[in-house]
């Protein structure tokens, strides 16, 4: 892959086709873990790591196990198993080696298994036919896009205190969804970006 292709792939994954705001992957953790900037940051970093490593392993599993054995139809099952065991492994590794980070991430770590951005990136890598480098770049920058989105949204949400100002029915989740929609609208501005 040439340098230009890599840059356009990276910019596409971070801004133009942001996983949250344009592809709707990973909305559950995005809405769930975005009440504070600190936790959002921790979640984002963990997702970057898992997405990158998941892209690497899923590429290897697909290329050297499923394709030679003509088992491509088992992709979904194989990928989710890779991701689940990967998250489990990361959890055990952090617990032993970097307990402080493990404590900071807390319950968010196992939740990454059911983050559709992770399975989504593995499936999209295969669907779009990216090679090894492309898969790694797409996984990493997709994670960066997720981090950007969740940190932006958490900092908006921290300042949002609509008590008494917002209609009672909209309090809590609905107004947060609409705020996310407005950020998505802002992100649409990037769709004009041509590289």
């Amino acid at each position: 892959m040439s340098f230009g292709q890599i840059v356009s792939l990276a910019l596409g994954a971070i801004l133009i086709e942001n996983f949250i705001f344009s592809q709707f992957l990973g909305i559950c953790p995005f809405m769930g873990v975005s009440k504070k900037v600190d936790t959002a940051l921790g979640m984002g970093v963990a997702v970057i790591f898992v997405m990158t490593v998941a892209s690497i392993f899923c590429y290897i599993v697909n290329e050297f196990l499923l394709v030679p054995l003509n088992l491509e139809f088992m992709q979904t099952v194989a990928y989710i198993l890779v991701i689940a065991s990967l998250v489990q492994f990361v959890e055990m590794f952090l617990q032993k080696m970097i307990p402080s980070l493990y404590q900071a991430l807390g319950i968010y770590l196992p939740l990454i298994t059911t983050n559709c951005a992770v399975l989504g990136v593995a499936l999209l890598n295969t669907q779009n036919g990216y090679n090894f480098i492309g898969s790694v770049i797409y996984g990493f920058t997709g994670g960066v896009g997720f981090l950007l989105a969740i940190v932006l949204f958490a900092s908006v949400r921290e300042r949002m205190d609509f008590t008494g100002e917002c209609p009672k029915a909209f309090e809590g989740f609905p107004i947060a969804l609409i705020a996310a929609g407005l950020i998505a609208l802002a992100f649409m501005g990037f769709s004009g970006l041509k590289i």
Binding site: I80, L123, L185, M188
Partner: protein, 213 residues
């Protein structure tokens, strides 16, 4: 077992999308035409019923430490079956839903129902629960599709009705708002729907309070 109560809960007070706030990704992403919504809703309902039944059957066999992994394997199996069947018999639907069909594996509704209901209840009750929750999910999807398609495209029933599945035109093209089809519209419409649900439940809580006085 109380079938009527289970359905009532799934459709109103414990709706998977509007109240439990699960399965947001697919709800936002694919609700652009009616065909998409119905297809996704039916696929999720089928997978939900099957996985609930199997997990309920295995609930005494699966060790609790690895239960989540076991559930995911069961769910992934059914998702693969539905995915392959759809590719074979409904290729156009499979194309327009794209990556969101395999992503049903990580749809929180299915895992949440396995964990909170199927692993504790009998097979029949779990099957009914799967059907009820699936129908609750499908109804929200269809409502969102109808709203987004009407305002964004001015049509009804895109993908199935009308000439070559273009849908029946209700609103002239000049009066449509493209934004509602775009990601922003997904967030907006879902936000408004959840707000409507909260409004209704607030109202009924007030009524109950007054009646209690």
């Amino acid at each position: 077992m109380n079938i009527k109560k289970q359905f009532n809960e799934a459709l109103t007070s414990n709706n998977p999308v509007l109240v439990q706030l699960l399965g947001m990704c697919s709800t936002l992403a694919i609700t652009t035409t009616l065909f998409n919504g119905i297809g996704m809703g039916i696929s999720v309902t089928i997978i939900l019923i099957c996985s609930n039944v199997v997990i309920s059957l295995l609930r005494k066999v699966i060790p609790s430490k690895i239960r989540i992994a076991a559930y995911i394997v069961v769910i992934a199996g059914f998702v693969t079956i539905v995915d392959l069947l759809m590719q074979a018999f409904l290729p156009s639907l499979s194309e327009s839903l794209g990556v969101f069909i395999p992503l049903i594996v990580v749809n929180c509704i299915i895992l949440a129902r396995a964990e909170s209901f199927a692993s504790k209840n009998s097979v029949a009750a779990s099957a009914v629960d799967g059907l009820a929750q699936g129908v609750g999910y499908t109804i929200v999807l269809v409502v969102m599709c109808i709203i987004r398609e009407f305002f964004g495209n001015g049509t009804f029933g895109g993908g199935i009705l009308g000439f070559e599945g273009a849908g029946i035109r209700i609103l002239p093209q000049e009066y449509t708002t493209l934004f509602i089809i775009l990601p922003f519209g997904g967030f907006l419409v879902l936000g408004v729907l959840i707000a409507a649900m909260q409004h209704i439940s607030n109202k009924s809580a007030e009524k109950r309070k007054e009646a209690g006085k």
